[in-house]
């Protein structure tokens, strides 16, 4: 009798332990996934609607506005095509990494066309229209540079490096989030 009792008790403890461990990992994995989603969500929705994605959206608007200026000046240069292509790429970006790359290309293409327009436009009002777009465009880049997304992403990635988050992340398939910078 005693032997059976001891055996049963041991099995019960083992089962309990296994279930406890599993629930820790399941709950932990679930929590970690949600944290990861929240960090990524911050990139797109940010705080009170202010986010990097929205700032980039405004930059895209500025880009199209600059194209309109170039149309008015009958500009037909490679810079126009490059900006148009950069705008399309930015609009098609889905991940943080894609956004970063597209934003870099957009900055370059916008600056190139803006320089050409400001140098060649004779009409002061056209110049001012272009300058206004350039102001907004560069202002949004400064805002992006001060956005706390990267800090949040770094903090999350750092957390993933330590126990037990690293084990939980491994089991639940949670990965590091991309940073909005060169190399992700």
């Amino acid at each position: 009798l005693n032997l059976t009792y001891k055996k049963k008790r041991r099995i019960a403890w083992i089962v309990t332990f296994v279930i406890a461990i599993l629930s820790v990992f399941i709950l932990g994995g679930w929590k970690l996934n949600r944290k990861c989603e929240n960090v990524e969500d911050y990139f797109f929705n940010g705080k009170n609607g202010f986010s990097i994605a929205n700032d980039i959206a405004v930059r895209v608007e500025c880009g199209y506005n600059l194209l309109t200026v170039s149309d008015r000046l009958s500009f037909d240069t490679d810079a126009v095509d490059e900006l148009r292509s950069a705008l399309t790429d930015t609009q098609n970006a889905l991940t943080v990494r894609e956004y970063y790359k597209a934003n870099e290309a957009l900055t370059f293409a916008f600056d190139t066309l803006y320089t050409q327009i400001s140098q060649s436009a004779a009409d002061e009002s056209i110049k001012r229209l272009a300058a206004k777009q350039a102001d907004e465009f560069s202002s949004r880049l400064k805002t992006i540079q001060k956005d706390p997304y990267n800090e949040k992403a770094l903090a999350f990635n750092e957390e993933l490096n330590y126990f037990p988050a690293n084990i939980i992340a491994f089991l639940s398939g949670t990965d590091h989030v991309d940073l909005f910078r060169n190399g992700g």
Partner: protein
């Protein structure tokens, strides 16, 4: 020795960072700080008086700061630090505005609070600077340039709030229920309501898992331990081993707020919309929407910043 070196290095780093972060202090009048000594006293008094009216009506503040140089910081970074250190504008509406002149560097910068971004874009701000400040600034008539720019900015902010510039309004301005708030309690109430279903679901699932574990644990342990122990001679008298009661603490996980009210420009998600070739102005995307009260963090004694913050956009010299 290692510890000592670490301490010394830490102190040095800390000191360096403190020096790097330093911006000029606000003056007693708060609205104007002429450290470069280029403004007339009348202009300073005018800026203060006009700001008193503006702040009383809207919670907005327009600060004018002149410095000789901005040290190791670029003018935009310096303006950003100064804005947030001083807390220009209302904390709830973030509707402050800063005009910074770095006379020694022959540069200037204007920065708006995040609550004004969609009504006074950096493009608009750049335009105002270009027309009102640039001609006088280039001619080193700083006082005249600042006055003209201040008037232009004042007029613009007044028009945003629907107040005739230069006049005090006694009626409630339309911004009172605007939704561009940072950290206002109402906002979190809104988020809580939106995501209470998520919270409830997650809570139910967690309780369910915990209950399952608990039941398995109790049944397994009780099955083996609640055996009969006979005392004395009576076969009907029995006792059980008792386990201490188990206490479970359940913590609900609140989903952090996200996806709140959006600025007018972006639409949802990534916020891209197909664009025709025409111009669009970011500052003309509809009116204010309603939420919450005005909440003037007020003057108790001297003037001070309302606690507003900026995201660091702004416009500078073209």
């Amino acid at each position: 020795l290692k510890k000592f070196l670490c301490m010394v290095v830490s102190i040095l780093l800390l000191t360096c960072s403190v020096f790097t972060l330093a911006v000029v202090d606000p003056t007693d009048s708060f609205y104007v700080a002429d450290y470069a000594n280029v403004l007339d006293q009348n202009t300073e008094a005018y800026i203060v008086a006009q700001n008193d009216i503006l702040y009383a009506d809207t919670g907005a503040q327009i600060c004018v700061v002149t410095v000789d140089f901005t040290g190791s910081d670029d003018i935009d970074d310096y303006a950003y630090k100064l804005f947030n250190d001083w807390g220009i504008g209302s904390a709830e509406k973030n509707n402050g505005l800063l005009l910074l002149l770095s006379v020694g560097a022959d540069d200037y910068y204007a920065l708006q609070g995040s609550g004004l971004e969609n009504y006074l874009s950096s493009g608009d701000l750049g335009d105002i600077l270009y027309t009102s400040l640039e001609p006088d600034f280039a001619g080193k008539n700083y006082d005249a340039g600042v006055r003209k720019t201040f008037d232009a900015l004042y007029k613009r902010i007044s028009s945003i709030y629907g107040i005739p510039s230069g006049q005090s309004s006694t009626t409630s301005p339309p911004y009172q229920n605007e939704y561009y708030y940072y950290d206002s309690p109402e906002q979190y109430e809104h988020f809580d309501a939106s995501f209470s279903i998520f919270g409830m679901l997650s809570g139910i699932i967690r309780i369910f898992i915990i209950l399952v574990v608990l039941i398995i644990f109790i049944s397994a342990v009780a099955g083996s331990s609640t055996r009969r122990v006979y005392r004395g001679f009576s076969p009907f008298y029995r006792t059980y081993y008792h386990r201490p009661p188990m206490h479970f603490h359940y913590h609900t996980m609140h989903r952090p707020p996200f996806g709140g009210p959006r600025p007018p420009f972006g639409g949802s998600g990534n916020g891209f919309s197909p664009r025709p070739g025409n111009f669009s102005s970011h500052s003309s995307n509809g009116g204010f929407s309603s939420r919450g009260g005005a909440g003037r963090s007020g003057f108790s004694g001297g003037r001070s910043g309302g606690g507003g913050s900026s995201r660091g956009g702004g416009a500078g010299r073209r």
